[in-house]
Amino acid sequence: MHKRISVLVAGAALLVGACSFDVTNPGPVADEALDQAGAWDALVRGARYNISRATSIDAFYGAVAAKEYSTSGRINATKLPLVFGQLSVDDVNANTWNWSQAARWQAEDGQRRLREVLGSGFATNKYAAQILMYGALANRILGENFCEAVIDGSAKKPINEYFTRAEAQATEAIAIAGAVGASEVSTQRAAYAIRASARLYLGNFAGAGNDATTANVPTSFSLSAPFDLTTRNLFVDTNDFAVGGNFRASTVWRTFFESYFRTTGDLRVRWDSSTVNGKARDGEFTGIPWLYQRKYIPTGTNADYGSPIRLVSGREMRLVQAELALRAGDFTTAEGLINGIRAGQAVRAGSPALTSWTITNVQEGWNALRRERSIELWLEGRTMGDLRRWIADGTYAAQFTNGPDSDVADRVRMCLPISRGERQTNSNLQLDPDDPQSPIYNGQAAPW
């Protein structure tokens, strides 16, 4: 009997041991599958997807900091108008940092993967060109919007780390796109424009000038961050026009653009206060009129959630050329370039055509440039970076007299902070004396 039982027990044990518990479930895709060429289209699109998400939220918070917009509601609004002086980790949605870093990481991880798989073929592969360009763009976005650099769990680095990476990746993208040929002309043009912007921050003005030419980036060229009803342009989402919703979180009220649009009708900074779908009313904070932007809501329907945000454009490059001219003391060339952007610009029905700015010296040129850049790039997530760059190199103090952002420069550091999540999970950042969560917190407000 004992023998019989022993045999049975041993048999059962053998049976279980022989059972296979390997299961391959469909749905989420295993990491190894992305090594195959057929996955690269979606891999590159994923990098772009993250750039869209990052752009939307960075631009929203940057717009408030740069006074492109004011807070009028409760949801997704920073407390910037309420707590003056700094953008702290509590004031800004952590996804600014998270999604921007995700955009950088996915592009750079994709570059690593393609280099490993393609070997020497990397230098002539269209996906390599594209993902390098998106990597450069993600780094430019991080550099323009954040205060410090952190790469893959590193310690804090100077902000130029992002621009250096952007420059390097754009340089490689330009070369590979050129090698691929005509199909990647747009990739190459975008890479030139990204590198030009990065070089402005790095102080390589000659290099920026070489990149920003009409030949490299025609005036009509642009690259945008697309959205759809899933990803959603945050400027539309927070206003929630299409469903007549309650969010109504931002207003143009008391910004430069309120009066500028009233007087000129320049549709680049279009806003409205009339009915879109449902009754417009004051914001959540009683007494703040709700003047909603219409740059991204031309129709006032659900479809507007997909309104793209421009990332790169030839028009911006002309303004880069104007800035470089001003830096060289050539205000006449700058005047032509700036007014060239204004020429033919669409205006509200019934408004006269836009007038040209009159520039008689370099300082007027700088003020006109700042004004025109803020109008041209309104709600595109660029103005806060411009202000910080100009404050950092002394241009702001030396040249600017008044303008769209006259009352923000003194009290708000023009950049977004490292998120609390990064501070809590990155061992190289945990002992940050500026972080109230840190055991060595110095009790002082962070310097931003």
């Binding site: 059972c19 895709v29 990491d31 940092w97 899933t230 659900n302 479809a303």
Partner: protein, 1023 residues
């Protein structure tokens, strides 16, 4: 043709012989046709096993206690009578040829039936005296109340089992907790078995089934799979509450096991049972109650009264009015900001009054049981339905079950069971969403339609939320006893649960003009195989060994489909394909498979039938484990000592068993948790599918391991009039899975489950049953339970989970806190936004259930439950406090002193100067000043003590005063449920017994109406 005639004639002959032969044979034997009755009450006792061991024949008694053993060979025998809960009884009988014996056997209840058989938690089966762990049992015969589902059947009957009543909306199931939370991030729902077949999932439309499979359109609760088990088909339920008893169930059993045993057929004549339940439901008021205004002399002129817009200030001493009276008049005069008038009214039903119905519900059950010695059967069919409390709520449920047992040979018994249920229901949207009726009403007029007016809110009810759940369970168990003391038991089970949900916000819907439509389908199917061999061996005098070994293999396949579209072309009937856009997410079609397999062995040593030692282990593999992980071992050991069987034990002290048990059990991670993966995301804006990072992956991912030590004693004293069941348990869960955040600069912001946590649950459980008065005509019995639960988190690694904190209960309620909560001064806030309040699950639970027995089998049962020591957070109230003009119902009593509208300060973080100068401000304590007025930081200050006492049941049962032809027994039961609730004075929120969805980690409030009171009249008759 001639051949066919011969064949038909042959068949006829065989048929006649088959009919006649037993009669001929029976005429040479005797028949025992008796009745088993209760010693105390004289009532017939059903389901008693009556056997003649010498002849190896047996039968079960019918509903009236009658039984028949036909064809008994003449001779002298012992009639052996056994039933769970009664003392085994032997009666000598003398059977003569052709004679019919009609004995009446009286059996007495055994307060502590040490020889009754239990199966849950042990390999094969065991007598209760042999089991070293606590095992609770609920007999359907003890449940007088007509229950609609198993949740109700178990609620408040067993120490250590917490089952919230839940919410009013149709189809919502309840969470179940055995000895607190068994996990910090996975479900703490126990493992469910039905007749040995493992239940495939916990809830329909499971959020855990396939992540991201829900479109988000669903604005209601989750339906529990337990509701598919027709309570009329249940015979008994066994509950083992922790790893000390569940080790042999392995990887999924850390949260305990509930095993349901359905009714079997009865040898003898066919017995039909019919039952109908007719009832009505009504919600008891749960909101603010009437009071008196203290007046507001400082109110500016022209601000309207609640009842008469445009009039002057409210005079001191004015009684509050019910807000509902104001439903048909504008609350806000044109030109006046923010409806300053309204706060100060009372809202016993949170303004939901016009929408709360008192629906009639009905249920019909018909079952038939019978059989012979060779074949027994039980078949049941039931139908149930009616409207619900909320206007769109209605349901219809059909349930069928059939159990067949037969003996192909003397040594082989086969049980085959099948069950099917269909549950169709519609519900009114709830939770925090645009289609939630409660949400839109309680937040008016700052709601989706921007309106206070019920005539406008009525249009919310054009929504449609239709669900259909189908469930099929098939099972077969073969028990083969080839040799004396050896048993092979093989169980095959198949459980298939499917759900289809259709949601529609029609074209031109008030909060979604383009309209929205979605379809969600989900399914879970399990195929399980269990095999156990048991062999009993006598080693030497007085020492026996029972060795059991076996294995289990469970394969679970799950699938989900979720489609959502918006922008309907116009009115009419549509499918998702009619939509013009896909607003929330791309269509989801997902499926996954999880395989769990294990080998188990157990050896029980019995010495002198009073010392018992059991050791065993289970070794498991699971497809969700990390690739670096091998098989997992879960050992167990237990000891039982029937001290009252010792010669030195004075008989006057009754019966006592001491016990101790130790065991480990686990909880596996999800199917994808260990693997590094990417999500293909349809991104129409980007022109196609995009890969984005999903799970960082962890090849070392292991199951959670819960170790439990349990000691206790079972005793029956005072001539078995008082029974006591006491247990102390200490459960430590290590390798607890927690989501660990990675640095966002590493690219993947999704968290990864890691085995970093450790926590414990410990407590005592005491169950007492006392027969205070017992006579033939009158009886009073008191059942009482006490359970405590103390939990503490010991380790969390680098996890940052708000309600899981080292040194605090698991889970803990943390929130913003006012230091001087109950002082009548301005609030002073704690600097941290997350402060300790207390545990989320009750730390003490007490139930009291007296039963009064009157002459003529009339009984009255009351059941009350008290839960205390826990806290619960109300998520939505702060929105109302921010927005006005009503404020939140939770602050109505505060607004009586200082109306919400008195706040007119800027949007800063505290009361305004105007509140502070209000003449009644000294009647408002600090925490209410922070809670009840427009304040944008203190969102989670609506955290309340969740202590409550609830009358779960009042049931009166009596024989029906008349009999129909052929009717054997007939009882009428009148029962009320949830009739009364008393909450802490400091809790002005919803009913804390609302709990949460089946799968959720914590209990919390949602924007939902609490469960209603129920009144039911039930008639049950057997024929």
């Amino acid at each position: 043709m001639p051949f066919k005639v011969r064949r038909d004639l042959a068949r006829l002959l065989v048929s006649i012989l088959a009919l006649v032969l037993p009669t001929i044979l029976a005429a040479q034997a005797g028949t025992i046709s008796g009745k088993v009755v209760h010693e105390g009450t004289g009532a017939g006792v059903p389901a008693v096993q009556v056997s003649i061991p010498a002849l190896k024949v047996s039968t079960l008694t019918a509903a009236d206690g009658s039984f028949t053993l036909a064809g008994v060979r003449p001779g002298n025998y012992e009639l052996h009578i056994i039933r769970i809960g009664f003392r085994a009884t032997d009666v000598p009988v003398e059977v003569r040829a052709g004679q019919i014996l009609t004995p009446e056997v009286k059996i007495t209840e055994a307060a502590m039936a040490l020889d009754e058989i239990v199966v849950t938690g042990t390999a094969g089966q065991a007598r209760r005296r042999e089991v070293g762990n606590s095992i609770s049992q609920v007999q359907i015969s003890d449940v007088k109340q007509p229950v609609q589902n198993l949740d109700q059947m178990l609620q408040g009957r067993t120490a250590g089992v917490v089952i919230p009543t839940g919410r009013a909306d149709m189809g919502s199931g309840s969470a179940i907790r055995l000895r607190g939370n068994a996990s910090l991030s996975l479900t703490s729902y126990p493992l469910i078995y039905v007749d040995g077949i493992r239940q495939t999932a916990e809830a329909y439309s499971s959020n855990n089934l396939v992540p991201n499979a829900n479109t988000g359109t669903r604005q209601g609760g989750q339906a529990s799979l337990l509701a598919d088990i027709d309570p009329a088909t249940i015979d008994r339920v066994e509950i083992v509450k922790g790893p000390a008893a569940t080790a042999l169930y392995g990887t999924e059993a850390a949260a305990g096991v509930i095993q349901i045993f359905t009714k079997k057929g009865v040898t003898g004549r066919t017995v039909w049972t019919f039952q109908t339940d007719q009832g009505v439901r009504a919600v008891r008021p749960w909101g603010s109650q009437p009071g008196t205004y203290y007046g507001s002399p400082g109110r500016p002129a022209g601000i309207p009264l609640p009842s008469s817009p445009g009039s002057a200030a409210i005079a001191a001493g004015t009684p509050t009015q019910a807000c509902i009276r104001l439903a048909d008049q504008p609350l806000i005069d044109a030109g006046l900001a923010d409806g300053l008038a309204i706060s100060g009214c009372h809202r016993p039903y949170h303004d939901m009054d016009p929408y709360l119905h008192k629906p009639w519900r009905q249920r019909y059950t018909l079952s038939v049981a019978g059989g012979s010695d060779a074949v027994r059967y039980f078949t049941s069919a039931s139908g149930e339905g009616g409207d619900g409390i909320l206007p769109l709520d209605n349901d219809l449920r059909y349930q069928f079950r059939s159990n067949v047992s037969f003996h192909p040979t003397e040594k082989l018994n086969i049980d085959i069971s099948s069950a099917y249920s269909r549950y169709k229901y519609s519900f009114t949207g709830s939770n925090n969403g645009t289609s939630s009726l409660y949400f839109q009403v309680v937040r008016r007029p700052l709601n989706g339609p921007s309106s206070y007016d019920y005539r406008i809110l009525d249009s919310i009810l054009t929504q449609r939320n239709n669900v259909r759940n189908d469930r099929m369970i098939l099972g077969a168990t073969a028990t083969w006893t080839p040799l004396s003391g050896m048993t092979h038991k093989l169980t095959l089970g198949y459980d298939d649960a499917r759900s289809e949900e259709n949601y529609l916000l029609p074209f031109n819907y008030i909060t979604d003009r383009p309209g929205r439509i979605s379809l969600e389908k989900s399914g879970s199917r399990s195929f399980s195989t269990d095999y156990v061999l048991s062999q009993q061996i006598s080693l030497f005098t007085g020492l026996k060994s029972t060795l059991s070994a076996g294995g289990q293999l469970v394969q679970r396949d799950e699938d989900a489909l979720a489609l959502e579209g918006a922008g309907l072309p116009g009115p009419g009937e549509h499918t998702v394909s009619s939509a013009s856009t896909f607003p929330s997410q791309a269509p989801v079609i997902a499926r996954q498979r999880v395989i769990t397999g294990g080998f188990l062995f157990q050896n029980m040593f019995a010495f002198k039938d009073r010392y018992f030692l059991t050791v065993g282990a289970r070794v498991d593999g699971n497809s969700a484990f990390g690739e670096n992980l091998g098989l997992q071992t879960y050992p167990k050991a237990s000891a039982s000592y029937v001290i009252s069987d010792e010669p030195f034990w004075p008989g006057a002290l009754g019966t006592m068993k001491l016990r101790a048990a130790y065991g480990l059990a686990g909880r596996a991670p999800g199917a994808f948790d260990a693997i590094k993966t990417w999500t293909p995301t349809l991104w129409t804006g980007g022109g196609g599918t995009a890969f984005i990072p999903r799970n960082p992956g962890n090849p070392d991912l292991a199951p959670e391991r819960s170790r439990e030590i349990e000691v206790g004693a079972d005793a029956a004293v005072l001539n078995e009039r008082l029974t006591v069941d006491f247990s102390y348990y200490d459960r430590v869960t290590s390798d607890a899975l927690l989501q660990i955040a990675r640095a966002p600069s590493l690219g993947n912001t999704n968290q990864q489950l890691e085995n970093v946590g450790k926590f414990y649950n410990k407590g005592v459980e005491l169950g007492v049953t006392g027969k205070i008065l017992e006579s033939a005509k009158l009886g009073i019995e008191l059942n009482a339970t006490l359970a405590t639960n103390k939990s503490k988190v010991l380790e969390v690694g680098t996890a940052t989970v708000n309600n899981v904190q080292v040194g605090q209960p698991a889970p803990v309620v943390r929130a913003t806190k006012v230091k001087n909560m109950y002082d009548f001064v301005d609030p002073v806030f704690e600097p941290d936004s997350n402060n300790f309040y207390g545990p989320n699950l009750p730390t003490q639970t007490i139930t009291l259930a007296p039963t009064f027995r009157f002459p003529k089998q009339v009984t009255l049962t009351l059941r009350g439950e008290y839960q205390a020591g826990h806290w619960i957070t109300q998520g939505a109230a702060h929105f109302l406090a921010q927005r006005g003009p009503y404020g939140t119902p939770s602050c109505d009593e505060v607004y009586r002193y200082v109306p919400w509208a008195e706040y007119d300060g800027p949007p800063v973080y505290g009361p305004s100067a105007r509140i502070n100068t209000h003449q009644n401000i000294d009647k408002v304590n600090a925490v209410d000043r922070a809670r009840c007025y427009r304040s944008i930081l203190q969102s989670n200050l609506f955290t309340w003590p969740a202590d409550f006492f609830k009358v779960r049941e009042i049931t009166l049962q009596a024989p029906l005063p008349f009999r129909l032809p052929r009717m054997q027994t007939a009882m009428i039961t009148i029962s009320g449920r949830n009739l009364f609730t008393k909450v802490s004075k400091r809790n002005r929120s919803n009913d804390p017994d609302i709990g949460n969805s089946v799968e959720n980690l914590t209990f919390s409030f949602t924007d939902a109406v609490p469960a209603p009171a129920e009144f039911t009249v039930s008639i049950r008759a057997t024929f």
